[in-house]
């Protein structure tokens, strides 16, 4: 089972990288031009050639690809053109910041989403349900960066409750930054990101709750004389949890996408910021690095979802045991 997983991951990564190379080769962005930027009239043709040579951009694409692959095999992700640093260093530094933001947002959206979904589903058609659904539809159709700017204007500028951006206080040395103020800077971006995530989870959970309440076991429970409250609390959550958890872990990819925009607005120094820069400025090593990393991240999300199934669903645990037993029989034969 794990061998199969690993194989799938490897083939996925190879396909992804090949596809990325293909896209980059078709991309109209000239990396030298992107690197030179506004100085394009002060950099001579000779200097452009020197830049190409320095970064190995004048070799044909297959050569560059081969060079990149062989370096990767040795664990060398290359040097980022825009940061002039090893790609892995950039990713490590950026990911630490992103991870905190994404996990906070993820936990918030998961908890709030399931709670709202449960409440709305339990009283579907009511005022609360209509309010929640209205909220979800509005949020789901709101562009992330616009929502981020709105949150920024309201909470940071008008109300002044939270800082306008960054992950640390302005002008304060790292040694003097308290955990408290780090959290303070995390609030707005995490709130924005979780607001985006809540919509999906809520609508999905609500749907499952409605289904559960119309199921035969709910009818049976009612027939036994159980109160509505007891059904909602005792029967529904367990049945709704599994699909909701799948969705929650599958939302890693959306989380990753959303963080790109949110980080840009809030000047939050995460991986999203770096990804956008690398794509816009033709920094192939960094872009490929983030692509691989992003894929691993999403893959890890799905893997975690499977692991959590085992924890919360006895049926899957049982299935797994049977499968393993059968598998070992086959091997024995």
């Amino acid at each position: 089972m794990f061998a199969g997983r690993a194989l799938r991951l490897v083939t996925l990564l190879v396909a992804l990288v090949l596809f990325s190379w293909l896209l980059m080769s078709r991309s109209p962005i000239d990396p030298v031009q992107a690197y030179v930027g506004a100085d394009m009239n002060l950099v001579s043709q000779e200097q452009r050639q020197q830049i190409e040579e320095y970064w190995g951009l004048n070799d044909p694409l297959p050569t560059r690809m081969a060079r990149w692959f062989s370096a990767i095999m040795h664990g060398d992700f290359g040097t980022s053109m825009i940061y002039r640093r090893p790609v892995l260093d950039v990713i490590r530094e950026r990911f630490a910041a992103s991870l905190l933001l994404m996990m906070t947002a993820w936990a918030l959206s998961g908890a709030i989403g399931m709670l709202l979904g449960l409440l709305a589903g339990a009283r579907s058609g009511g005022m609360l349900d209509r309010g929640v659904r209205w909220y979800c539809f509005v949020i789901a159709s709101t562009p992330a960066f616009w929502l981020a700017i709105l949150v920024l204007m309201v909470f940071a500028v008008w109300l002044g409750w939270a800082p306008v951006g960054l992950a640390v206080p302005i002008g304060v040395e790292a040694s003097r930054v308290s955990l408290f103020s780090r959290l303070h800077h995390l609030i707005l971006p995490a709130l924005t990101l979780s607001m985006l995530g809540v919509a999906n989870i809520t609508l999905f959970t609500r749907q499952k709750v409605v289904e559960a309440l119309n199921s035969e076991y709910a009818l049976f429970a009612r027939a036994k004389g159980e109160s509505e409250r007891s059904i909602v609390l005792r029967h529904v959550p367990r049945n709704v949890a599994l699909p909701a958890v799948t969705l929650l872990f599958a939302s890693f990819s959306e989380l990753f996408g959303g963080s790109v925009l949110v980080e840009t607005v809030f000047t939050y120094p995460g991986l999203g910021q770096a990804t956008v820069q690398s794509a816009l400025r033709g920094d192939v090593p960094l872009l490929l690095g983030t692509v691989i990393f992003g894929a691993l991240f999403v893959f890890a999300g799905n893997l975690l979802a499977d692991a959590v199934y085992l924890l919360i669903d006895p049926r899957i645990r049982e299935l797994r045991r049977v499968e393993t037993r059968e598998l070992s029989y086959e091997h024995a034969e």
């Binding site: 506004a38 002060l42 000779e46 700017i149 500028v157 002044g160 951006g165 408290f180």
Partner: protein
Amino acid sequence: MTGTDGSRMWRWAAALAPLLLFALLASLFAGCGGKGASTGGGEKRDELVVALGGEREEGYDPTTGWGRYGSPLFQSTLLARDDDLEIVNDLARAYEISEDGLTYTVRIRDDVKFSDGRPLTAEDVVYTYETAAKSGSVVDLNVLEKVVAEDDRTVVFTLKEPMTTFVNLLITMGIVPKHAHGDDYAYNPIGSGPYKMVQWDRGQQMIVEANPLYYGKKPYFKRITFLFLEEDAAFAAARAGEVDMAVVPHTLAANSVPGMRLLRVPSVDNRGICFPCVPAGSSDEEGNPVGNDVTGDMAIRKAVNMAVDRKALVEGVLKGFGSPAYTICDNLPWWNPETVVKDADLEGAKKVLEEGGWKDADGDGIVEKGALKASFTLIYPSSDQTRQSLAMAAADMAKKVGIEMKVEGKSWDDIERLMHSNAVLFGWGSHTPMEMYNVYHGKFRGEGWYNANYYHNPGVDAYMDRALAAGSEEESLEHWKKAQWDGETGLSARGDAPWAWLVNLDHCYFVNEKLDTGKNRIEPHGHGWPITANIVDWRWKD
């Protein structure tokens, strides 16, 4: 399952609970966070927080291109420009250029120390230039044959060919210490500049502190924090009172921010129309078409130059935050003021067209010359709204004299293919006449973004060649001016009119009312960092 039990109020409260919780938490936090700058109110301060954008991701190493605009901050340069853009000594005590213009001999001060206490010697200068030449970066040192230290205090640069604009490299290249220039230099720069780095939170902010060993004028502000915010975030930070200075696009400049004034700095950040100057029919090495029969006619180019109302463009498109542009280098030392043409001169434009053989024979409002209609495409980069508005407004103005410019937005990559055969709305502007040389010299026809319109006038080329070989920048000025207009011909609108320059943008900043930024220089293309050029003169008003 409509709700009949439980109160509705309660359910609403449940929905609002997360929001309320957040509000409560946030207000708790608000009391303790590092509140930014402007809360200081009236009293004197020696710390600043500014949002000028433009983080340098690859770090603050001059040998890979840091410090070519604004203040090099951590390092210092051999020469510098003063507020009037005249060349003055900095690290150099004196410099001389040989008769043939090939050798620059620079004598440096002997009292300069790097911020780590070690002295700065000629060796460091040589090391800096040699490293930069090999760095594969935007620092272009191809003209440099060699650089040697004659003794501890004397550096001799030898060029492959005379080039008066080489002096700009002496002005912009910060000197790095040979003994401390390792792999992580760009993140922990050590130099002889007015400030030293305290901390750089990448992607967020940089904190700097006055360098006590700095040999020049002591800066007033002891500590400055640079925030690397996007335009929207910088504006929000200004509104929230967290910064003393924020860069602002002219589209937002009309807003007012309490406690802040609007600072408008003139620039040579210009926008103009580049006309293909040769007839259609040929193509470049990559097979892109070259030339345009309509704009290849000088009468058309001159007529557009006369017909546009630059003041109206400044008022209408830039909301007043700009000035009319007549050349690529307005108001810089090498600019020729005689190049200013009369604006919105419809009669003059019509006359030029008539003399050129263009008239509206079929009465459709567009002039013709034989079978050729005075109609061509004007391309702007579709990502830039200001350029779009300028292109559309200029097209309306040209229409009044019977010239049709069809306005189209394209990506930069399309523009690269189309720019030899269509008019394009470009922008340049730099603190070196090298730019004029690159854009107008015949030898760069079709070479990359340089002379994109294939302009060629041997007389103009000769003036510019003479300017490069003149000996010093001062002596070269006269030749640069003559290249623009010598009384008979030139590269400006009075001469061959290969371009129609339209406007120079003003660079706008919101600045704390109490902050005095001294005399700001005309800024080059690039809005933000250049304002730091005179950062040591900034002070708090009493």
